[in-house]
């Protein structure tokens, strides 16, 4: 009885839901994604990963309507985002529910000052000026970019530019923020700052985060939900601990965090460190410490 209740509660809370989603780019011979059926719940931090060409970028583009409206092509199956059927609503409407941050920081900022860029979406929506001002300042503060508000994007570092891009999306107050490999061009510290900012947004404001990434060593520990894709299909979908420690994940060739690998190798050698599979170095170090204490 309780299990049935939980399942239907989950259905109510799903903010992104797809059923047998299949998409073929115009002029392509094979679909880029095939029969993708996933559910992302409100407030989750979801990680989507997989080898290059697996379709994760394509899937992302479906979440805010760029597919099918911007890219054309053939989209089959169902996809609902924030209660709206994507095929039936224009991108500018979906943009107020799903914000998207892209890989290249430079090509998302078009204005000559940071605050004008952050205001861009709100200006497009025709909001009154004082509302825009309030939201712009709020978004700048949350991403730690308030001091940069009068600078030109060209003067900023890659990490700063990406945080401005996040602010620009945040200002529209969407329920979901999708980030497509946002740290590809950033150095490790810049990347870490980005992940910390989006983790904060997830925990403090309850914004659902969908992050497409290769660098699992840095991001696995933040996630509630991991989806692994390969060759256009979803291959693994579930809790991080299960997914990353599965044999399948290793075979697909996803960059499993080294801490997890070490744990698996020791397990195969007969050393049981117990408890949940570690996703970060801190978790693994903790386990080793525990195990040694137990032996002593």
């Amino acid at each position: 009885m309780r299990k049935a209740f939980r399942v239907s509660w989950k259905a109510l809370m799903a903010i992104i839901e797809t059923k047998n989603l299949t998409y073929t780019y115009p002029g392509a011979t094979r679909p880029a994604i095939k029969d993708v059926s996933i559910k992302i719940e409100k407030g989750e931090f979801t990680l989507i990963t997989g080898p290059s060409g697996c379709g994760k970028t394509t899937l992302c583009r479906c979440f805010n309507g760029l597919i099918p409206h911007f890219y054309q092509g053939e989209l089959k199956g169902e996809i609902t985002v924030a209660g709206l059927k994507v095929q039936e609503h224009p991108v500018y409407e979906l943009a107020t529910h799903v914000g998207m941050v892209f890989q290249n920081p430079e090509n998302q900022l078009f204005a000559l000052s940071v605050e004008k860029d952050v205001a861009f979406g709100l200006e497009n929506l025709g909001m009154p000026r004082d509302e825009i001002r309030k939201r712009v300042d709020w978004a700048l503060q949350l991403t730690g970019t308030y001091e940069l508000r009068e600078r030109t994007p060209t003067e900023l570092s890659g990490g700063q530019q990406q945080r401005v891009a996040i602010a620009a999306v945040l200002a529209m107050q969407p329920e979901v923020i999708v980030l497509d490999e946002p740290t590809s061009f950033l150095d490790p510290l810049g990347a870490k700052k980005i992940f910390e900012v989006i983790y904060e947004l997830n925990k403090k404001l309850g914004i659902t985060i969908v992050l497409v990434e290769h660098r699992l060593d840095l991001t696995a520990k933040y996630s509630d939900h991991i989806i692994i894709m390969d060759d256009g299909k979803v291959v693994l979908d579930g809790e991080p601990y299960e997914v990353l420690s599965s044999e399948e994940a290793r075979l697909i060739g996803v960059g499993i965090p080294k801490a997890t690998r070490l744990y698996q190798m020791l397990k195969a050698d007969g050393i049981k460190l117990g408890g949940k599979v570690p996703l970060s170095s801190e978790e693994m170090a903790e386990k080793i410490r525990e195990a040694i204490r137990r032996h002593d």
Partner: protein, 274 residues
């Protein structure tokens, strides 16, 4: 051999990118030049093929000062693969793309054909010989750029941020490729901030910050020193982080390889079981 003698470099815009760098790279070495964005890594390696000339100090490649020869002459010895392959690709076919540099260097037609064949095979691009490079995927375009540089068989190979945007398997292939080149006595220099990749390759690591070298040594020594890494805005590789965390217990500190870590832990737990 590359010798860098107290090199300073300031861009025309006034930015002082190198502030007294001295370094020697011997033939056949495998070196990773690391640091945050803006530390001066790419500026430094651009001196190795003469694209940049020092504002103070000297750079010598095989005993010849880089200010005394043209970039094209140095390029014969020093192959430079840029970060973004799309900054190089412009030909109608992959074949032509690979032949471009060979034509510039004045090779004869049959040598060009042989070398193109060889480069295509080496990087698994034979089926794309007559394809337009723009039709290929990101990873394939990177291989075309690499092939077009290897085609003229430079002694020294420089790769600028080769792991950006690559998935795990692509990085594995790259790592093995680099080791293969190194085994063939080529000097390989990679510019990167990917600590996990460097931990798996275990090269000599030169760490830069603010236009200066702050560390130079074996990967296992440099990547396990948290103070120095923090100065350079880098994070230690996960395995190193685990052992740094456990440094109060009696574990060795300079561990970066997962297999080595497993051996150490196996020994520890097995001995305790007795």
């Amino acid at each position: 051999m590359i010798e860098v003698e107290d090199v300073h470099f300031t861009y025309p815009s006034g930015v002082e990118a190198l502030r007294g760098v001295s370094l020697t790279i011997r033939n056949g070495e495998f070196v990773a030049i690391m640091g945050e964005n803006g530390a001066g890594k790419t500026t430094l390696v651009k001196h190795f093929n003469g694209l940049l000339k020092p504002t103070k100090g000297r750079v010598l490649v095989d005993g010849v000062e880089t200010t005394k020869v043209s970039v094209a002459t140095l390029a014969r010895k020093v192959g430079f693969v840029f970060q973004n392959p799309d900054h190089q690709l412009f030909c109608e076919t992959v074949e032509e793309e690979i032949a471009f540099a060979l034509k510039n260097f004045g090779f004869s037609q049959d040598v060009i054909e042989k070398r193109v064949e060889w480069a295509l095979n080496l990087l698994g691009l034979s089926q794309y010989r007559k394809t337009s490079p723009f039709m290929l995927s990101g990873g394939e375009r990177k291989r075309v750029a690499l092939a077009s540089v290897l085609a003229w068989d430079p002694k020294i190979l420089i790769l600028d941020e080769p792991t950006i945007g690559q998935d795990y398997q692509q990085k594995e292939k790259l790592r093995q490729f680099i080791l293969q080149m190194n085994a063939q006595k080529k000097t390989v220099i990679i510019v990167t901030h990917d600590v996990e990749f460097v931990a798996e390759c275990n090269p000599r690591v030169v760490l830069m910050r603010g236009g200066k070298i702050v560390a130079d040594g074996e990967a296992r020594k440099v990547l396990t020193n948290p103070e120095i890494l923090m100065q350079a805005s880098l994070v230690p590789p996960q395995i190193a982080q685990i052992f740094i965390n456990l440094s109060d217990l009696e574990f060795p500190k300079e561990v970066i390889d997962v297999y080595e870590a497993r051996e150490i832990l196996l020994k520890t737990f097995r001995s305790r079981e007795q």
